[in-house]
């Protein structure tokens, strides 16, 4: 690997971590919601998030990504996943790679090795965003209150992911299972989105999952 890029392990081996929603003390709220919640929220916190840039039209790029990750480079608005690793299209030359917590440094090195010589960019953004998983029969209603994007399954099937406006912020909505969705939320907006979600799901009942 060339030393033209500064890559280093940014996550400490042992230190207390606070996810973007740590102050909400979600752990304390588990089991305290209504028995039949229309919406269940879980913060999939402290995962490794890497932004990958490269030339989608170059087969060498897609090939090397596949070689390093075992995932096909997704095309527009698509999300592919294997186990706890997912790769999502963000733009024509930009993808979001989410990996298990603490593996992001190794994954980045592996990717860089596979992509050596190509014009690419990989940036660790793990501290800057979090995943909020929403599940339940009323999630679609909550999303309809929040975003002007059409979340009907005919337009937004499982495996699709879109960047859009959400209330008065922006985020990525990912459809990961029939009644399961994920929001990719920037750290500084996490509290706003959390307040918004509590309010928007109040009429359906909100539960918290650890």
């Amino acid at each position: 690997m060339s030393n033209s890029i500064n890559v280093y392990q940014q996550r400490p081996a042992a230190a207390h971590a606070e996810s973007p929603l740590f102050h909400a003390e979600l752990d304390q709220l588990v089991g305290k919601g209504p028995a039949k919640a229309g919406v269940t929220l879980r913060e999939k916190k402290l995962l490794g998030h890497l932004t990958l840039r490269g030339d989608a039209k170059d087969s060498a790029f897609a090939g090397a990504v596949h070689q390093a990750l075992g995932l096909e480079l997704p095309s527009a608005l698509m999300l592919v996943a294997a186990g706890e690793t997912s790769l999502q299209w963000l733009g024509p030359d930009e993808w979001l790679l989410v990996v298990p917590s603490g593996t992001e440094f190794a994954v980045e090195q592996k990717l860089r090795a596979a992509l050596d010589g190509q014009h690419i960019s990989i940036v660790n953004v793990s501290g800057g965003q979090t995943l909020l998983e929403l599940s339940g029969p009323k999630v679609r209603d909550v999303l309809m209150k929040s975003s002007s994007y059409d979340v009907h399954p005919s337009n937004f099937p499982v495996g699709k992911a879109v960047g859009t406006v959400f209330a008065k912020s922006q985020l990525v909505i990912r459809h990961t299972g029939e009644d399961t969705w994920e929001l990719v939320v920037r750290r500084s907006f996490a509290d706003y989105v959390w307040l918004w979600l509590q309010d928007a799901s109040a009429e359906f009942g909100l539960a918290i999952k650890a």
Partner: protein, 1005 residues
Amino acid sequence: MSQVNRLATGGRIDRSQPLNFSFNGQSYQGFVGDTLAAALLANGVDIVGRSFKYSRPRGIVAAGSEEPNAVLQIGSTEAAQIPNVRATQQALYAGLVASSTNGWPSVNTDLMGILGKVGGKVMPPGFYYKTFMYPQNLWLTYEKYIRKAAGLGRAPKAADPDSYDYMNQHCDVLIVGGGAAGLAAALVAGRSGARVILADEQEEFGGSLLSTRETLDGKPASEWVTKVLAELASMPEVTLLPRATVHGYHDHNFLTIHQRLTDHLGEIAPMGMLRQRMHRVRAKCVVLATGAHERPLVYANNDVPGNMLADAVSTYVRRYGVAPGKQLVLSTNNDYAYRVVLDWLDAGLQVVAVADARSNPRGSWVEEARKRGVRILTGSAVVEAAGSKRVTAARICAIDVQNHKVTSPGEVLDCDLIVSSGGYSPVVHLASHLGGKPTWREDILAFVPGDGLQKRFCAGAVNGVFGLADALANGVEAGVSAAVEAGYKAVSASVPQVVVHLEEPTQALFQVPHDKPTARAPKQFVDLQNDVTAAGIELATREGFESVEHVKRYTALGFGTDQGKLGNINGLAIAARSLGISIAQMGTTMFRPNYTPVTFGAVAGRHCGELFEAKRYTAMQSWHLQNGAEFEDVGQWKRPWYFPKAGEDLHGAVARECLAVRNAVGILDASTLGKIDIQGPDAREFLNRVYSNAWTKLDVGKARYGLMCKEDGMVFDDGVTACLADNHFLMTTTTGGAARVMEWLEIYHQTEWPELKVYFTSVTDHWATMTLSGPNSRKLLAEVTDIDLDKDAFPFMTWKEGQVGGVPARVFRISFTGELSYEVNVQADYALGVWEKIIEAGKKHGLTPYGTETMHVLRAEKGFIIVGQDTDGSVTPDDLNMGWCVGRTKPFSWIGWRGMNREDCTREERKQLVGLKPIDPSKVLPEGAQLVRDPKQPIPMDMVGHVTSSYASAALKHSIAMALVKGGLKRIGERVFAPLVDGSVIEAEIVSSVFYDPKGDRQNV
């Protein structure tokens, strides 16, 4: 008074559920299923308000959204006040409190009538137009008087206890209106599998089918409605929205619907329920089935309570079991109106006479009325109503429609209710919101929707299809077309059987002639809500207003919440006749959103209170809160402004914080600075092009300050960028400029220089940044890091990697205070722990947390600029005396270079950034204060500049300021004056903007 006008049987009301309510302080009773209007009529309430201009008593005229008079104020408490509620659209609920919005002090006395007469003189037609041509202060005089008198209602003064929200909807077919055509369209569109939304403004779906005497398949039409609704409700892709008014038709088939979810249940929504919801709908195709409003005839004194629309009376009788009178006279020009006669007879009431403008009407309903003994005066019309607070008689005369003349003295018939019908006006409002001009159809005497670019179909009465059978068929056709348009297969549907009636054409009659000329006849009202008379419209045309839009503005016809629902066509017809042109030539005015008023609550939705806007926080926010920070808004961010100790105000806290940094060490949360990771072999070249200074020689491990300019040469952002590796840079931007700079880099990369191999990624949220600043910062940092902080190993404007507080960090030795400083960057997930460790270790070094205010003072003492405070988009680097930051020999013509070499950017007397030292060291110049050389000169003074930043400096023990002054750099040592609003003047000396440690020794230690 019990319900004197309530019929013994009939109506869709639940007589087992009485509801008490009050109107203008009087208690009444109605039933579940009533509208407020129906209940008022049932109780014999004739007068619901006073008119806007003439203060004449007014009663209920209509049964739907076209009601012009019964526009009431609702609410028993201050917080529950709602203005502009149409009684015809408000469901009755227990405890409803309503009052007239106009008619102070009481609608039943004539006190305002005197004023009204005065008002008639004071406010002739053209009042608005003429008033605005006079000096503004005249309007102020009028305004008080008008506001008091006008039916504008009032906003609540207390907070609304209810919640409102938005729902973003997407559908294949949106059907507006749930009457015969709309239901038929929904049924076929739904059956095709399309995603359908059916919205209707009334309490129940069905429209006229709920009150018509016509049958479907031989059964009451309401039974078909029930059947269709059941089928629609069973379709998973069909959404039914009752009590939902489609009030705006916007670009690209985006429509807004105002749904009243619980307005029918009480004045405050039940626990856990929303009051109203705004649906924001994007539809592939729209079916407008908005129906038609019956048009009244214009005759003398047609505004006296007891003058109503024919259809409305049918609705009150059949749907609500209310007869708003005993003896009815009908004045009509068409067949449909005869239905009210039959309904009235069915209710066991007396029909005094029918005046039909046509010479020999022979339609089915006409004949049926004749057969039942109704006296029909043909070629006639009601020319004048008698009565003041209630109709007492009608004068019917023979008329010559062609020559607009009364041809007989006529006869006066006693009655208490005059209903009129001048035909139907399709509800074309939504169809014309986007500019589609309605077209006049002489055959049906109505404007129908014009062509529109949006994908939409019209069905039923709005399309000029008035007969029930035709409307149903038209609805099916539109529903199928819309579904096909949206990509679904056509589904056939049978139309229920309707008894066919012989219907004869309508006679064109709008204003009924009077014995006297219009100007001298008793008032003939065209627009009841805005008090526009036929005479007023004639006056407008006489004064030369010939365009329909001018006539509208001159007279106020169709203004405001009314939007011309009842009066528009009659007004146009009168104007056309006065001008001697046809209605088609006259054309119609356009209609604007909103079709009916929308509450502010529904407009705001959930975007209020805590959720008014997105607030952004750093990873250290919980610590800031626990330690008493006051916050400042910087863009969307909440930044600690200062950290007051007990008893301290802003100035005390800032002075303490400043001295702590100058004398010991302070810590600042700088996480909000924009951070952009830049990778690629052309990263350095890109920096050369977007920054004003040179980047070619910046070594790995070093950092440099840079200015960014727009193409015009004006500064628009600044920050420090570090070289992390040969092809890797970390750029920082101002807090407020982060998103703007990112878009700036991308626009040049994507549109101008795509050949440059570089990628930009925002890492603002990923890194948390804490700045240690002050002479003790090295000692303090050494306690928590493994990085060699020796001044030679880690000099100024370089960065190092290492552990800080047990967490991997990048530490930048850069300074915005002029003191020895380190900016520690760690992954935000670990920042709070690192911050707390530094705070703990800092205790013995006098570590003081400081906020943005102290940061501002410290940087001003050093003369460091803040973009957006000391610059305003008209300031070049040279103006800032920052020519050292301009790469004058860079080979590529970087952004801003050409612009700043324009003649105007190089002239001598440009405003330049200098320091100001007030002569009185205790006086702090107000930021924004204008500067002059001679404070005694006459006003307007010759202004030579303005103050951009100004503070009391604790370290310097005197006040300081930065200012942009014409030719300021040549005027160091001269005096300027700031004359203030209170008459005082602050005198200051122009000095260098670097007040503190001009050689920069302190940051280089």
